[in-house]
Amino acid sequence: MNENPKSWTDKLWYLFSSMKMGLALLGATALTSGIGTILPQTELEPDRAEAVSRIWQVLGFTHVYSTAWFRLLLGLLCVNLLVCSMQRFSGTYNRTFKPRPPQNGNDIPQKLRQEIKGSTENLRLKTEKILRDRGFRLIGEESGESWSFVAQKHHLGYWSAFIVHIAFVILISGAILGMFFGFKGTMMAAAGTTTALKNINLSKGTVTQDFGVKVNSAEDRFLPNGERDNWYTNLSIIENGRETASGTLSVNHPFTYKGVTFYQASFDHGVHLTADVTGQTMPIYLRNQGRPFRFPNTDLYLFIGGMMGSPQQPVILFQIYKAGNSQPIQSGQLSAGESTNVQGQYKVTMEGYAGFTGLQVKKDPGVTVVWLGSGLLLLGLMLSFYWRPLLVSGILEQEGRLTLGMASGKIIGQTETEFGKLLSEIEGTNSKERAGLTTDLELKERVL
C-alpha cells in the first residue's frame, strides 16, 4: 500500500466503473432472487423451509431477501452505479451544456457522415436554416477560412442513463431508510378497546411514538347485491388522554397519523362481555372461536363457540373450560343483556357483538424516497427511449465543401434515415438553385 497507494484504489474504482461488473451484479441479483422463489422461505413457509437440505439453510437461501449477502449484493450494485455515474458525469455535462464545434474532421461523427459540395455561402445558409427549422440548437464558429458548427436536439436525453442509474440508487436508499427508521407490525383489536402503539405485534423495527389507538367501530359491510363492500374501522388517536385525531379506514384506504399508517388487513367477528367479581367490572372482548379468556386468579377459561343471532339480536354460545380438562365444565347460550354465573366465582354479562379489526401498522419514512426513485427511474427510461439526443456537426471549407455527420447515442438504424432526410433537404434546396452543378452533389461518400 505504501509504495503505490493509488494503485489498489484505482483498481477498485476501475472495477466498479465497468458495466461488466454492473451486469454481473444484476445477473447475480436476478439469479439469487429467482432461487428464493423456488425454495420455500422461512417467513412464508417455516415448516417447508426447515425441510430443505441443510446447506441451503446455512447459505441463507431459505431467507434470501434478508440475508447479509443479498443486501451486500444490492449495496455493491449501488456502489457500481454511483461510480459509473460519477465517472461519466463531466462527460455528459460537457456534451449537454458545452458542445464545441468540431476542430477538425476527426471531431465529426464517423459512422454517419457525408460530404456535400456547393457554394460556400449557400451551404452555410441552408444548413443553418434547415437545422434551426428542425428544432436544433446550433452553435457556429469561424476559424480562419472555414466555418464549423455543432447542432443539438433533445440534448437533455444525454442524461437518461445518469438519471436511470441514480434513480435506482435513490430507490434502494429509500428502502434502507425504511429498514432503519421505520417499523412494521400488526394489531387485532375489538371495537371499543384502546391499544397502546407500543403494544402492537412488531415484526420489524421499534416504536418510538407514544399514543393509543382506540377502535370506535369495526364493521364488515355488504353491498345491496350481497357482495362484500369493504371492512371499515373507525379509530381515534389518544395522546395524553385526549383524542387528537380520528378517521375511518378500509382496505385500500389507509389512515395516517404522524407518519404512522394504519391499513385495514383483516376482520373477525367477536363479542363484548363484562365480568363481575365482588363489585368490580371488567370488559372482555373475545373473537368467535378465538383464543379463550382466562379469569384472573383462577384456572377457568371462557371460550366463544359460536355466534348465532343477528347484529340486532345477538346470541352467543359460550363454554367454560378448566385447565387440564378437554371437556367444557359449563356451557350455554347468552343473548344481549343476559348474565350467567361462572362456577360461583364470576358473573359474566353479554353486552353485544363487537367487530375485531385486523390492522397492519407501519411507519416508513423511506417510502417517499422510494417513490421519488421510481419516478426518476421512469423519467430516465422515457428519456432514454423517447428523447434520443441528436447531434449534427460539420465543417464547411472555403472551397464549398461541407462535411457533416450525425450521431445519436448508439442507435444507428433510425438515425440513418433521419440523416438521409436532412441531407436530401440540404442538397435538394441546393440543387434546385444550382441546377447546373448537380454533378458536384453526387460526390458523396457514405461511411456506415
Binding site: 417513490w371 427510461l381 442507435i411
Partner: protein, 282 residues
C-alpha cells in the same frame, strides 16, 4: 339482460378462439404458399378475433360492473387483447405479416389453456375482495397488458431473426424465410418494441408497488410474482445494456428477446401454477 350478455360473452369467446386458430394456420400456409389473398384472409381473421376478444372483455365489464381485471380468466383474455393490439399495430405499421405466424400461436395457446384448465366456476364473473378495488390495480393491469403484449411481439421478432439468419439460409431466394423482412430490420424492430415495453414494465412494477402499499402497507414483499417481474425486468435491462455498450445485436440480442419473453410467461403463469407461492390474486 345479464343472461343474454353472458351468452354473448361465451359465444364470442369461442369465436375468438376459432378465429385465432384459423388465422394462425392461415399465416403458416401463407408463408409457404405466398398467395396474397391468403395473407389478407389471415389478417382479416386476426381482426375478427381481436374484435371478438374486445366484445368478450366489454361484455364482462358490463356484467361484472367493473373492468375485467381480477381473475385468471380475465387476465388471460386481457393479455391476449394486449398481444393482438400491439401485433396488429406492428403488422400495419411495418407491413410485417410474417410476424403473425410467430405471434398468433401465443394468444391461441393462452385461450386453449382456459378451455383445458379452467372450470366454469373459474370463468364466471366473481365478486372481488376489497383489496382489488383500487384505481392503481386497474392502471397496473392495463400497463401489464400492453407491456406483455409488446414483449410477445419482440419474442416473435426474435424467433424470426433466428430463423432468418440460420446458417446457410441467409441468402436463400425462395422458401418461407424469404418472406421475412431483412434481418437488420427485424433486429431494429425488436429493439424498438422492447424500448416501448421496458418503460411500461417499469410502470407495471411501480403501480403494483403503489397498490400494494395502499392495500397492505408494503410496497415490496419479495413474493414470487413480484420477484419474477423484477427478474424479467433485469433480463430486458441486460438486453438494453448489452446492445448499447457492446453492440450486441443480431443473434445474441434475438436470443435475449426470446429468453425475456420466457420470463414474462413464467411471471404470468409459472408463478401461479408451478411455484408454491402465495400471490393471492392471480
Amino acid at each position: 339482460m345479464n343472461q343474454g350478455l353472458q351468452g354473448l360473452e361465451i359465444s364470442m369467446f369461442y369465436l375468438t378462439l376459432v378465429a385465432y386458430f384459423l388465422s394462425m394456420v392461415l399465416y403458416w400456409v401463407w408463408l409457404g404458399v405466398k398467395s396474397n389473398i391468403l395473407g389478407k384472409f389471415a389478417t382479416a381473421l386476426t381482426i375478427i378475433g381481436f374484435a371478438g376478444n374486445t366484445v368478450v372483455l366489454v361484455a364482462r365489464t358490463v356484467i361484472a360492473q367493473r373492468l375485467p381485471l381480477s381473475n385468471g380468466y380475465e387476465f388471460i383474455l386481457t393479455f391476449c387483447w394486449g398481444i393482438l393490439a400491439v401485433y396488429l399495430f406492428a403488422e400495419f405499421r411495418y407491413k410485417l405479416r410474417a410476424l403473425g405466424s410467430f405471434v398468433m400461436p401465443i394468444p391461441f395457446l393462452l385461450l386453449v389453456f382456459i378451455v383445458m384448465k379452467m372450470g366454469p366456476d373459474e370463468r364466471v364473473a366473481q365478486a372481488i375482495p376489497p383489496a382489488l378495488k383500487s384505481q392503481w390495480l386497474t392502471f397496473h393491469v392495463v400497463t401489464a397488458m400492453l407491456s406483455y403484449g409488446a414483449f410477445a411481439i419482440s419474442f416473435g421478432l426474435g424467433l424470426m431473426y433466428l430463423l432468418k439468419t440460420r446458417q446457410g439460409v441467409t441468402n436463400q431466394k425462395d422458401g418461407l424465410i424469404s418472406r421475412f423482412p431483412a434481418a437488420e430490420i427485424l433486429d431494429d424492430l425488436a429493439y424498438k418494441v422492447i424500448g416501448f415495453a421496458l418503460p411500461l414494465l417499469t410502470l407495471v412494477i411501480i403501480t403494483g408497488a403503489i397498490w400494494a402499499d395502499y392495500a397492505w402497507g408494503t410496497y415490496w414483499s419479495w413474493d414470487p410474482k413480484e420477484t419474477w417481474s423484477l427478474i424479467t425486468w433485469i433480463i430486458y435491462t441486460g438486453y438494453v445494456h448489452a446492445r448499447l455498450m457492446y453492440g450486441w445485436k443480431g443473434k445474441r440480442a434475438a436470443w435475449m428477446a426470446v429468453l425475456g419473453f420466457v420470463a414474462v410467461i413464467f411471471t404470468f403463469f409459472g408463478v401461479n401454477y408451478l411455484l408454491p407461492g402465495l400471490h393471492s390474486y392471480a
